[in-house]
Amino acid sequence: MSSGEYGSLRVVRAGPLALVVDNGRYGVRHLGVTQGGAADWFSFHWANWLLGNALDAAALEIVIGGGLELEAQADATLALMGADLDAQLDDRSLLPGASFEVRAGQRLVFRQPRNGLRAYLAVPGGFSVPKVLGSRSATPREQLGGQHGDGRTLMVGDSLEWHGRSSGSRGLPFEPATSLSLSGNYLALVPGAQIGHFSGASLSRAFNLPWQVDDRADRMGVRLVGPRLVCRLGSMISEGIPLGAVQVPPDGQPIVLLNDRQTIGGYPRLGALTPLAVARLSQCLPGREVRLVATAREQALQVHRRCLAALQ
């Protein structure tokens, strides 16, 4: 890697939610610290791949868009992946799934979701923000990470810098619209945890009827609305919660726990979504219909290995 390439983006308008992310924080959950990191890890990795970056280089997760405006302070090659947020570079439309050139002074605007919810913007070598507890990811609730180290989301006037250099931009080996985290409405779930305590009728409904993604959704969890699930287990003692856990509170409507979930919790769970299903759910807008489909642990692992192998 040659040194000395420096660039930055200045935040001209902050949209509803944009934050610096990487793979997330690991080895710290026993401290009560959440995982964090890119919710759609699949798109995040491909965004970095497009630039030839390390796959976990810090990028920007842009949720909804909503008018986020960034001004390039230097000429650079950047990459966009994930949701189509009707982005524009000055007056040119910008689609996800490719790298692109910006010149100093040009402005990038993210408007409204046309497909998916979260876009990932990668920069040469990744954003150079300080690591906190091993990660650059911002987790606002915990006041950790991000551009100031204190979990803040993007604010007007912020300067997002990089000091790296890309090893060269590449073309995506598949159609962006067919990206696995943006297409399909099946969410693969590895059964486990307290699934044996749910009534037979509830399990039949859970896996045979459609679920609607609720607007009560954030990086902690996404509520699904549909048939009421009944669990015979009364109260539970809080225990560790894995990524993608499908927990069912007493109202019978599941909440799928994502990257910024609490570390322990006490609602019964059906099991956990696979990593790819988590990425897919994180791209779903409220109102979207999804279906849960049970999968074996080994099968889930095979799919995951294939996803990672494609990035090599």
Binding site: Y26, G27, L31, G32, V190, G240, G265
Partner: protein, 225 residues
């Protein structure tokens, strides 16, 4: 897909902690580099292992290996913390509620809250946040019906028979009795939590003057919604 739950007990008990602490230490040793995260709680330990390096069967085998020869750690020899708390209705608005439902005076709530050592059962909810217990039965008070949107850092609260300190400004539904300068968040940031499962904690009442001298923030906490 890559997490296993080690379930040691069915109920919350202070005698669990020696076993949980011992299992935590040994699981870390046998999983070593293949461990991504280990999350102990009241009765369980969640092992998040690297499924790209270790098969499910191998992971199970390592867990069995630990459980076969597990002996509890003597937590009486563990760390004990004295936590100074300024108990006052301005920063602890539920002092009154807890006193009322217990049928005792506010100062007796403070006395009882400070009358015993609490075990740290689990960390969670926020960086450095420790779930502690068990508080005197008379003080057991259900969570607020509607959680506060903002509970100040250092707030000391109880929910049912548990007690805890909020490490940082966050939403929360516990009954707040007072405030401390005990630096939970600062230590969690360094990766060395002040409170660890199995530690014991004793609260000590201090005056407003002492609290201020320790750098405490006396901004009143908003009343419950």
């Amino acid at each position: 897909m890559d997490a296993l739950m080690v379930r040691l007990f069915d109920t919350i008990d202070e005698t669990n902690m020696g076993w949980i602490v011992a299992a935590d230490k040994q699981l870390r040793q046998v999983f070593a580099e293949d461990l991504i995260d280990l999350v102990p709680s009241y009765t369980t330990l969640m092992v998040h292992y690297d499924a790209l390096r270790l098969s499910h069967a191998e992971a199970l085998q390592r867990i069995e290996q630990v459980l076969e020869s597990l002996q509890p750690t003597d937590t009486r020899q563990g760390r004990r913390h004295e936590v100074p708390v300024w108990y006052d209705p301005s920063v602890g608005p539920e002092l009154t509620r807890v006193a009322q439902q217990a049928g005792i005076a506010e100062e007796d709530v403070v006395k009882r809250h400070c009358s015993r050592d609490y075990y740290v059962f689990a960390l969670g909810f926020a960086p450095g946040y420790g779930f502690m217990g068990l508080v005197h039965e008379a003080l057991a008070t259900p969570r607020l019906k509607t959680p506060r949107r903002r509970v100040a850092a250092g707030s000391v609260g109880i929910a049912e028979r548990q007690t805890a300190i909020y490490p940082l400004l966050s939403p929360g539904g516990w009954n707040i009795l007072g405030r401390t300068t005990f630096p939970l968040f600062e230590y969690a940031l360094r990766g060395e939590p002040l409170l660890r499962p199995g530690d014991r904690v004793r609260f000590q009442p201090i005056s407003r003057e002492e609290f201020v001298a320790q750098g405490g923030d006396t901004t009143p906490l908003e009343a419950a919604p």
